[in-house]
Symmetry: C5
Subunit: 332 residues, 5 copies
């Protein structure tokens, strides 16, 4: 997630420069076609461009709005995890002996770690493979790409780590181990029933938040909607210069410098507009997968690190991990 004042226009322009190149090429073709003997004067009626412009704005507007809700929900899931983690830690420390509490809290940190790694794995529809994003990604780093889940889980789980790592869904395996232990404590009457009920509620909540995050991770923003939006943007941007060219050709008749420059103004002008509309679509596309490791992601590495610090401090540890600071204004 970008946490600076505002994207710098230059960064934004660099990121989206592929659109610029596309627009320059199409505009050049429009100017050429307009002047090419045989089809001289060829253009697309502006009124068509106008209808398309309205549709593009609406379709992209709805898409961005839905994508916004989607990544908002991802953030909410991790907000809930934050609150539940704190309550979990309080109950464990107040009602259980120190070693058991530590075990349950460490395993909770391990669960967040496993969930984090699982959410960062690449999916076919995610856009990190796109040239623009690969390039941009040099500016920051994703913690899960550098480390390995095994290295992170071992110190937290001791001898249980291997069993968890062998599981096909480590996060789920860890939540189940929490259940089993809490249930055992209850059966051995080591937990008052009220506290057992509260811990049970918390485990249920963690299950819900994991299922919610998995839902967002495993189910893309419907591809049929995405393609319709991109299709309209592409049709609009391709026709745009053909609609603009006669206007500037006309202006060339005014004489002066314009007679030379006139028609060529089509290129910067169409490019500016086309770039803006393509960015509108690209921005939605780049926010659709909030766990892919994008600059617009929900910063799950940072959120989980913050929780880890709190929980360890609560256990009285003094050698705490450092918070993950944004790199180049990007929190991950």
């Amino acid at each position: 997630m970008y946490v600076g004042r505002s994207y710098k226009l230059i960064d934004f322009a660099l990121w989206s420069r592929r659109s610029v190149i596309y627009m320059v090429v199409v505009s050049g073709m429009a100017v050429a076609a307009y002047r090419l003997p045989g089809i001289a004067g060829f253009s697309v009626p502006w009124s068509v461009v106008l209808v398309l412009g309205t549709t593009v704005s609406l379709v992209a507007g709805f898409k961005n709005s839905q994508v916004f809700t989607r990544s908002g929900e991802a953030l909410q899931a991790f907000t809930q995890i934050t609150a539940s983690s704190r309550v979990w830690s309080n109950f464990c420390r107040d009602f259980l002996d120190a070693p058991t509490a530590k075990q349950l809290i460490y395993r909770h940190i391990a669960w967040m770690t496993a969930l984090r790694f699982s959410l960062r794995r690449p999916m076919p529809w995610e856009s990190m493979g796109k040239a623009a994003n690969i390039e941009y990604m040099r500016r920051y780093r994703i913690r899960e790409d550098k480390g390995s889940i095994a290295d992170e889980l071992r110190p937290l789980l001791a001898e249980q780590a291997d069993k968890v790592l062998k599981s096909s869904q480590p996060a789920l395996a860890l939540l189940e181990m929490q259940s089993v232990q809490v249930n055992a404590l209850f059966k051995d009457a080591k937990l008052p029933p009220q506290i057992y009920v509260e811990l049970t509620k918390l485990i249920r909540d963690l299950h819900d938040q994991q299922a919610r995050s998995d839902r967002i991770k495993n189910n893309p923003y419907p591809r049929q909607y995405a393609i319709v939006s991109s299709m309209f943007v592409m049709i609009f941007c391709t026709l745009l210069p053909f609609g603009v060219v006669p206007v500037f050709a006309e202006m060339g008749k005014l004489g002066g410098v314009l007679s030379t420059v006139g028609i060529w103004l089509t290129i910067p002008f169409s490019t500016l507009l086309g770039w803006a509309y393509m960015s509108l679509d690209q921005v939605g596309e780049s926010s659709a997968n909030p766990f892919e490791g994008n600059a617009n992601d929900v910063p799950i590495s940072q959120i989980c690190r913050d929780i880890e610090i709190e929980l360890r401090a609560g256990l009285g540890e003094v050698e705490l991990p450092k918070p993950l600071l944004p790199v180049n204004d990007i929190a991950t």
Copy 2:
């Protein structure tokens, strides 16, 4: 649910090629009418097309947005079922003897199976009967279309299967059997009250999710809204070529190749636009029934299979069913 990077444009075009044919025919008629002696010069004022274009975008935009919410809710119901299934399985295994636990967990899998079959049955308003969809469906397969509910329930329910299969709503019958057994365990004091309360909550949640899925299955996206949207799209697309034809006829006066080609550009041009707008409407229509077995469905077969694998693994079974992988990038 399509889970590839993006629909391939060619697939999308093939799927929607009926719109293309319609547009070519209407465009041809527009060109013919424009040239037909007696009504030569007949056209529809573009300004009318412009107003309609804005309306079509808005009406289709709202419709797609509502349909998106609808299928989003269907997905949420199954996310909840996933989370509840895991918690159900944990409680059963930790607080009941092995055979009872196995019986309750198997019956839970049977319930998901019955629900799945019930949600896949065809409804009059669903669009799987449409030529475009039948054709597209050759690319993937719906598990419920191949198997029979009887074959799937028998190994799970043993002698109880027949009674369930005779019921008019097998899923409901299975949930009731869960209630009856859990209540009996409570009355026999084989369950601590806290656990009984949790199991009761889970059964209530499963009832809620089933009622929610049934609501989406049994109540179509309001047909009066759907018809208004389609009506506007049809009027717009039919008038479009009549609005475009005079512009290209005019261009024909520029001489060169355009004098021959000019007016015929109406056809590819109107077809491109008409196809885009018809796809906008068709995409909404094809996402409106998230359980119909469409390529844009909520992948309930896959979700239920994943849960089944988890629950069986939890029971310590080693011969687990295989996950259902997407076929041609379509998860079902």
Copy 3:
């Protein structure tokens, strides 16, 4: 609720034919005015029609979207009632002696009956009095219009029926009787506390769903919003032919058949467009009151009958009422 594949265009056209007549008359006036000596050439600038067209689409779009949410909520209330009824029936049968269970379940059916009748009563703002709807209603029947609440409640409530029928709000009186009896069972220790708490929750939920349905029934979609939307549609549709007429008059100058037909094309053309926009508004208006007995209603008679069948079957009855099938594709 219409549950066919799609409204037939002919039915839809018949239903909305009053708009057609209005548009034909206004278009005729526009042609006449355009030719009337003295004001010959009178028209409304198209650009004005254009602005209004955008506004009409937006205002009607927002209205339809809000109305959609409104009737979606009505459907949700009855989905919740379905789920709660099933749970209610399970608890009653498993924890109470047969006669008491039967009494509580029958009274629950009586409550749904009373609620149903109450939701079907006419309200001043509902649109069933409109000619178009009265006519359309010949195609289906509303169960509550044929029967009487007294006849339906007597077999369910035996001697308690009269007291309930005398009450000003029978549904509420019935819910209170459920509370009183459940509380009495608890005080007599005939219900374990856990079950009492669950039944209490269910009664609370039924109170909530009844209050929710009553809210939708008793509070119209804000009339000030409805009138603004209708006002814009009327202004737009009335001005539309005056904007269209000069375009077709112009076309008449092209000679050929068009010189005779030309200007008269204003009438079919304006009528087509006007009818589409009026339908857009009418469709919203006809969905605004989901309990009025409209073809677009939430099918509460059918939902309640389905629940009744389930509950009676659960009591082991064999002479079950028949499900209410859609009549002419309309579920009520």
Copy 4:
């Protein structure tokens, strides 16, 4: 809340006639400017009016939609209060001796009364001070404006009334008194724990609904949004006649009656449009404060009276207050 079939157009026109006057004056100025020697022919390009028209529709559409949600939430709060009141009354009557039950139920009615008066007090941003609303208000009456809170609370609270009236927030003081008494009953073991827990939940719910109503009352629809919307409407409506005037001036050249009348058509025409757009904005503004005593309010006096009747009837009283019927179709 208006509960007739539809606002009568004449009432609506009277209510919004200030817009009409404004539009007539501005239109007159536009005609004058167009003819004034020196600046003859002055007009505003229609294309500008077109852009503004789209923006105005959108901005006003979003505003009306948000305001709709706001007053919908206000209505929901009172729906919840209705349901909770019924459950409160049931528990009190079934589990407490008659005098205590009566005291708790009367105090509940007093709480609703105090809440009602508090929600009806005027706030600086409310629009009841506007001439159009003051005038319209002669048609109905707000119960809280006629009576005094002291007169209404005394019979309900007996000797406790004075203490409550001295409090700065009587509704809150009353809810606290409920808590204190219920807690005391629990400490004296006069309430079974299950019932105490339910009553506690209900008090929490009433606190929530009061805080929700207060939030809507105390926090206006963001003034910065409101001013931007009004600003766009004013700019649009002021420029509109200047955009319309050249079109009708042109029409005057057609001869006949139009040569005399032509340009003057600007006035009725601009007025009709301007009035419609101003109404669009005014309707949102008049629904933004759902407790201000407006004709579009949530009818809290009527809702609370209905609850009062139910609760008193539940206590077996026979001299019940009359329901508050809508006056001139306005429920308050």
Copy 5:
């Protein structure tokens, strides 16, 4: 939060005068370019401006709508805190001895204080650093900017203050201390289990509301969306005067005063429009961070002070702090 009747137009204009200056300069350039020999007659086709206008309205409309939801959620969090604080105070006073109750309630006030200070700290993306806002801020004052957290916490926490102030997250430390004490009271059997459960729920709710407020504070409205919106507004407003200039130049040909004034009308006219559109964007931007100390903020200082007064009055204190009144109609 602005709580006057309406922003005064003059204040609004002053606040947004930087847009006015920008528009005057650009308009001047447009006029100059149009007349500059060599490029005389240079303009931007209006049709382009029209497309952009629609897009700008839509993009800004969606943005403002999302920002509205965001600050609405912030307000809801504090509404929940209000309700929970009241219930917290009631339970503490009724079930605990006076000193313990006072300690728990004072610590609760301290928690709100710490939360308040934490939410008011500046973030890189917040807009308080913008010249327009710094200037406007002279009109009101933010309580947290004047006082220090240490001064406010000391009287509430006595000797515990130092420990809390040393913590990196004082609000969190205080909530944990509440947990620890409540848990201890339960373990010492000084709280009935039912009350312990209620207090536990309240602490969980406070954790949730804190996490929710922190989420809104720590995660900006997505910067990529904000920049796209601003980008469209800037492109539109910059091109606008170039689109307007030929129209007024044309009008200059009508003779009279207009021949002199004509083209210069471009400047006031473009400025009026450009200012309105820039305000539309700026208003959204200024509402995006509801805790930054802006005039459009959620008034958390005032809400917390009101709660503090209530809680202290509940403890029987008579020297109560004064409510924070709005300064210049701005509640903070």
